[in-house]
Structure formats: structure tokens, C-alpha cells
Amino acid sequence: MGFLKVSSPHAHGPMSTARVMRLVLLATIPGLFSLTWFFGFGSLVNVLWASITALSFEALALKWRKRPIGFYLNDYSALVTAFLLGIALPPGSPFWLIMIGTGFAILICKQLYGGMGYNPFNPAMAAYVMLLISFPVQMTTWLAPQGSFAGDLLGPIDALRYCFGFGRDSIDAITMATPLDVLKQNNSLLIEDLWQESSQFGQFAGIGWEWANIGFLLGGMYLLYRRVFTWHAPISMLTSLTVMSTLFYDGGSSASGGSPLFHLLSGATMLGAFFIVTDPVTSAVSNRGRVIYGALIGILVYVIRVWGNYPDAVAFAVLLMNFAAPFIDHYTQPRTYGHKLKDQQGGKS
């Protein structure tokens, strides 16, 4: 008769993986805009070059693995990795640094594990941490934000030139320690004095950084509204970070770890909360699990920022919790209809 023989359900919802990924890409726009506004075109060039290399690596890997290339490139997941890595790297990073990063992320962290859905670690964060450990100088050289120095911002042409290795020396003129760095190095000044002394501090945190974070927060709100992910992980991470920084905030002594607001709007906090922690592949699966997962990341971020060796900590915290995700899943299986929670936990092995 020529009718299809398929298992129910026959209807399908409007959501597709590609659409999820597109929404995530769309949601990075406000953050990317503020980064460009305050630090010049360096981040945009990062993202562009990272996208090109990531897609190439992805295509290469798929070819090696004899998988349909177009089908998988269409899911935009490589592009999301590229965007996140490009944003996380310091603006104006050299091309090879970016390339090594995307190569590591796509080939090692993603395709080697079996492609999208199979990777235990967030590829962008794993690549970031790898680069941070391997190339500490390049990775900690951040451009000075607009208004903190006299010179011009990095224009598009300059950004491209810097990226591909022409006139790299001149870029050092406009680099500056990040507020998190400054705070970490500080051991003599009160926070108030530090704020006045260093030009990179802005209203709440760093000049450009606070706005970049607000941009990513906006993007995250949009994704929440579009139900791309649930509130559990990001909100719980931000809450635990706030709680930690409030508990340990001593009102601004020289040994202070910074105010809650400073932590919320510094570094990669918002990017992490809404674009990294929410990565479904590597996070816990149940809502309860995601609350725990997010909360632990928040705590780890504060701990590493204030007492650890690195100024920013989102990447480390996320990677550490990626390890713990299966463990969390094991203990947070939701109570199924018609079961008592005890029975269910007891029934597990």
C-alpha cells in the first residue's frame, strides 16, 4: 500500500538541535558587542578565525570518520564551540593560538570521543585550559579597555594584522592586567584605593568587563525565555557565587577577595553561567542534578579566583565539575511517578 510503518509519536515539536545552537549563537551577540565596543575588534577576529578553523577541523574529522559532513556541520555545534572559545581568548590573540585551541577542542575533545553528544568535557573550556597552561603569556595578555588609556582601540584591520602576526610588538603597548589579576596581585591597598589607582576598574567591576558580562546575562535571559535550557544550573551557579563572595567579603580590606557584584560581573562569570555551565552534553541531566552541578561550579569559581593560582576560574571549575557530572547523575535520579524516593534510590546499583 505504500504507507509508512513508523513507531509513534508521529507528531514532532518545533525544536531541533540546529535551532538550539542557532539560538545560542544569536544570544552571544550582546556580549560580543560590548566586548568589541570596549576592547576593539580583537574578539570579533578571534571568533571569525576560530569559526573558520573549527569548521575546517570538524569537516576534516568527519571525513576521517567517514560521516556525512554536511549533515553534521549543519548542527552548528562546532560553530558554538568556536564562538565560545573565540570570546574566551584575549582579544587579538595570534592565529596559531586560536588554531591550536579549536583544533584541540574539535579534534581531541569532541571528535575523538565520538562527536557531538559523546564528549565528557566542554570542548571550548578544555581547549581554553590547555592553552592557559601551555601559553600562559599569550593567554593572560588582555587588551586595555576603552577609556583606561589614551590610545585608539583596535580597529578591524589592525586586529586582523595582529592576529596574523604583523606588528605584534605594538600591541603590547595597549595591554593591561585584568581587574581580577589586579585584585589577585594586590596585597597592600584597600579595595577602595585599588579602585582609584587602577584605571581598568569601572562602575562595579572592570570597565569593559562589567558590560560584557551584562551583555552575556542579557543573552542568557533570552535563551531562558526561549526555553533552550532550564534555569537550574546558571541560577544556582550565580547564587552560590554570590553567597560565597558575600560570606567572605570583609568590606574591602587589602586582603579582600572582592565584592559579590565584582565577582558576578568580572571575568567570564556570565559567559560561564549562561553559555558554558548550560552546555547540556557535559552537565548533569536532571534538574536537581543541575542545581548541584551549578552550585558547585559557583563555589569552585570563587575558591579558585580568591585562593587559587589563576585569576579566573570558570574554565577550571567547569572542567572539574564535568568530571563529577556522572556521579551527580547517579545520585539525583528524579523520583518516577508511582515510586517512593527511597525504593528507587535503594533499587539502584
Binding site: K5, V6, S7, I69
Partner: protein
Amino acid sequence: MIELIAQNPFLASLLALVGLGLVFGALLGFAAVKFKTEGNPIAEQIESLLPQTQCGQCGYPGCRPYAQAIAEGDDINKCPPGGEATIAALADLLGVEAKPLDAAEEAVPSVAFIREAECIGCTKCIQACPVDAILGSAKHMHTVIASECTGCDLCVEPCPVDCIDMLPIQTSLQTWHWDKPKPAEDLIASDRGTTKQSGAAV
């Protein structure tokens, strides 16, 4: 004495090592006595994984002897009725590498059927059946209790008139079920876009 040892590092390390060896040896010996397990439970565990067709295709007279043999180091890939699934389970249990099946093909689950018109009532199949799943007496027609038949094949050979068939077990309305979808991620490029979908169970 102690001084001698203290002054002689070689002696000290020798003594330390021997001492450690003695202590751990004693511990192990104690554990071996204290936590001794009776019999050979591994053979039992192996047997519980075997399909119990008692067909002897492994070269042993039944599943139990084969389980014993595996426990004593025989290969795990000699059970055609169990097939890859059994090999995987055994490999899992014993922590060894799964091997390909040591037979032409996996045995299709089947059930013996006696063409009753041709049966001469010789009782040879009854004697061959390892699970007493054939009924009948001398000079009377025999029949197979299908629910007890393990599909082992052993009755086919002795039948002098070749009236026993091994019929593969048919899917019935009660046993029918959807097949698992073919994972589309493993599709090759050319499979895309055709109307035959991954969800279509053939």
C-alpha cells in the same frame, strides 16, 4: 645487632623487605583461610549465563560441563545457541576479551517438529532429547513439547526416517515488537534524504 643493621643500609633494606613480605604473606594466608569460598562459584555463574539448550555443540555433554570447562580455562566462544550475546556476557563476567563465535553462524532459535505422519515410533529421538521434551512410546507416534524444546538439534540425527524438522521460532502477534531504530548518526552520507527512515522497522 641493631647498630649493625643501622650501619649497614643493605641489611636494613633487606630486613625491611623480608619483614614486609612475611607480614603480607601472613595476611594473605589468613585471608585465604578466613574468606575461603566453597566449591567453584565461578562455574555456577558461568552456567547461569549459558542458554541451557544442552545441545553439546560446544563439545561438552551439556551446559554444566562446558561451564566447568570455561572455569578451567576453555574458550568462551563455543556456544552457538548463545551467540554473541552470551560471549559478551561471559567476557564481561570473566574479564577477558570477547572472541568471535567459533561456529559457522549463530544458531537461530528454533523448535523441533515431528512430521507425525512419517514417525514410526522408534523412540530414538526420545532417548536423544536432553530435556525430555519428546513424548511417545514404542510404535506410537512421537511429538515434541514445543514449550520445553530448547532447539538443540540432538533429536534430528538419530531419527531413522528423517521426520524431524528444526523450525525457526516464528514471530507471533504476541511476540512481535518494534525493532530498535538504526542509529542515524552511523548512517553514511548517501543514506540521507531517502524516504526510508531510521524509525522504519522492517
